[in-house]
Symmetry: D3
Subunit: 181 residues, 6 copies
């Protein structure tokens, strides 16, 4: 029921238990591609698991500790974008996302990210947002770069998936840098 | 961040912890009028209490057990409208509401109610919604009557407030009756 | 061990875990008849489930939130009668019951009800007790009528069982009406 | 509401939250005498504390883990007698009691104990009940002795009260010994 | 990682989850002998169960309520010795132990016990430690006797194992008696 | 009771509730210096708070999720060194430390760190350990540098303390790099 309208085609919706089937279907369709990048994919075995995930994410929102939203394009669920756990002492959090392969390359995630950055900086009053991407994920890195994030480091072997370790580039954006935009 | 837009002036927003101050302020402003009708008013002593209420209501939403939304008029918080706990076996729930006195008489609650009825019947798939009003609350009763609810009974002395008992009229609307509209 | 003696043949006993077998047996014997009226019957699949029910009901009693008692006739368990959750602000609760088919028609439930009404009004100090019955359950409705309850309404489609909805008659009795008796 | 009737004057009642005031009053009246024997007395500072105690004891009963009952003489609360936590593997528990000073010496506790022993052995199916008394508490020791318990040992310094340690005599009674009676 | 070194061969180590396999293996090897004496043996069916046991014991330690340690001889796990739950009001606890059959008769448990007694009396400031042994377990009783414990009683039928009841000898040692050593 | 002996003067001990006083005293003595670097210092107002911290850290250890140890020099508590929460999927954690000012400059933390690295890599089987230090904390950065950690980035404004934000240098060490040493 609750949404954040971005433009006539694109919305972020707060996922509810009843969305579990639709979300799981898109994960299922993108399983090959998603499992290449995310360690949580093999554990997502059915819509019931997705329902539990949605309920946990809503509980996180209820505790004022970040939020997970569904990306809807022309009323169709096509991916997720989230503000992760918030360090309220440092007013610091990070953003993560994935989108169905057929909708990639249209700038959708960048647009959604911009909205969550506004929410994070203006509404929640956070001071810094980080985005992390695997060094071999050029597509994912393009988003923070386009949004003016600065590269702050490369953390080695912090991501284990499909039997090997991957490095993460850390990008950071400060409230002041965003305001300047 | 999350809202359900009704028209250019009116929105239902999912309340977050950060709204507590604004909500409490409106309760404070309407304290005299609200305490006449609702037993929860004397216990609402500060914004911290309102924050706890909001967090509990979000948790209820997270458990797929109804939802509490803030009514915003021209971006200003002016009251609350909620779907109470859901009996999923009978697909039954009820709706409750209150609105700042200065915004009464404009049909705002009726309009909001209509949206929640759509959400309840069409999205959640409920079968029946009840609205209860004190027999001496003509203004409140006008809403279900206007929306086509049928009066189903008068439950005696079910509401204790300000040292006396009050009766409740129960109004009910079935999914089929709503569909017919 | 704990009982409320009504007369030389009839007692209300606080059910303990060790009663689970005996209770389940009577449910099993009356399964056909009970499942016609109560949605909880299909989920009651074994004595272990009944044990959990008894423990939950005792916990409710421990929290001063109503009580579930076993009806014993000549030392034999024959049914249940309960005070449901209590709304302490309105000093309001309801009573529910069922009895093994072979003991129906003897006025046993009416007698037990009278005892629980005394407990509710005199001991707990409640102000009102409701009894709800399906409109097609003449036998069940006879009890509140006999005890002087007033019919307060017919709530439509609030009870879903065996693939259809049923209406409930609500009967209410006030403390003052009981005192007058 | 629930009681175990022993004779025309004496009953064991399952304590409910509403008894807290009456129980606390008797503790208050006997504070000097009770604090001589029991380390829990100084912490019992008001009826609210007693209410919490009663709720915890009911929860223990709900978990099939012993029971705490109020001794009522001519409908007046005069003390407590309990079956403590049960070791279900060994079918072993113990009994504890105290009674208002003015009712001591009438054999009331012995009579109540006999009832709880029947409940423990016959109803719960326990195999052994122990009673422990401070070596300087002749009055308390008289009860298990009168009931046929055997002295099984003197545990040194297991009870700390009023700045010194006391020894406990352990008395034990087996189911078979009770049956023989 | 954490240990209490007793001598060049013998250590008490705080068990961590990662020790579960090694502990289970020794239990498995001694299953026949252990199940003769301890009722918990049949329930210990795999290393996962042992891991849960270790985690529970660590939680007990975290709550300042006794500790369970692994006996390591020449860096090999060979048994357990524990301080059970502590009665902080009476500053009273008990010690329990078992050791792999091939290491019995070397005085290892006596030596470990001495260390735990020092910890209990000197570090935790307890006032009394009890050790209980089945009357038919001469080997186990030898330990408290050797350490100067006094026999305080024989509790009848407090231990149920392999379809029969066993008696326990209770041995006790006071802080003052230990200090004198 | 449990310790990891490093050399004749230096030990890491698993902190227990009873250490709270000693730990708090050292925090109190170093309050000026510690509050310059750590946001948790102002909240540490008494030994009771330190006791809660120790119990939480022990619970973390019980859940196999890192460990907090006290640094003891000549049997005197002088600081803390911890393995923080563990990401078991990536086998990744970080180490943090502080030491009483009078013991700085003696290489004590470096020595302790080396032990925890062994524990992390060899015993727990982790793959990477990070150490983070404020960019203005030269003394703290010297430790990972001396131990062969590689600088992986500078995360901007991730640490809020005394009304301003600070940057963190992230140092990382892989299991393979440690093994090579």
């Amino acid at each position: 029921m609750f949404k954040h309208i971005i433009n006539e085609k694109l919305e972020l919706r707060l996922l509810e238990a009843r969305h579990a089937e639709a979300v799981y279907e898109v994960i299922e369709m993108n399983r090959g591609y998603l499992s290449e990048w995310f360690p949580w994919v093999p554990n997502t075995k059915n819509a019931e698991h997705t329902k539990t995930f949605i309920e946990n994410e809503l509980r996180r929102f209820a505790h004022n500790n970040g939020v997970s939203t569904g990306i809807f394009y022309e009323n169709k669920y096509i991916g997720n974008i989230s503000i992760h756990e918030i360090n309220w002492n440092s007013k610091l959090s990070s953003i993560g996302y994935w989108i169905s392969s057929e909708y990639q390359g249209l700038g959708i995630v960048t647009t959604c990210c911009r909205e969550l950055l506004n929410y994070a900086f203006e509404t929640l009053g956070l001071n810094k947002i980080e985005i992390r991407a695997r060094t071999d994920n050029v597509r994912s890195s393009a988003i923070p770069i386009r949004l003016g994030f600065k590269q702050e480091g490369i953390l080695r072997q912090v991501d284990y998936n499909n039997d090997r370790y991957y490095d993460h580039v850390v990008y950071g954006l400060l409230k002041d840098e965003w305001r300047g935009k």
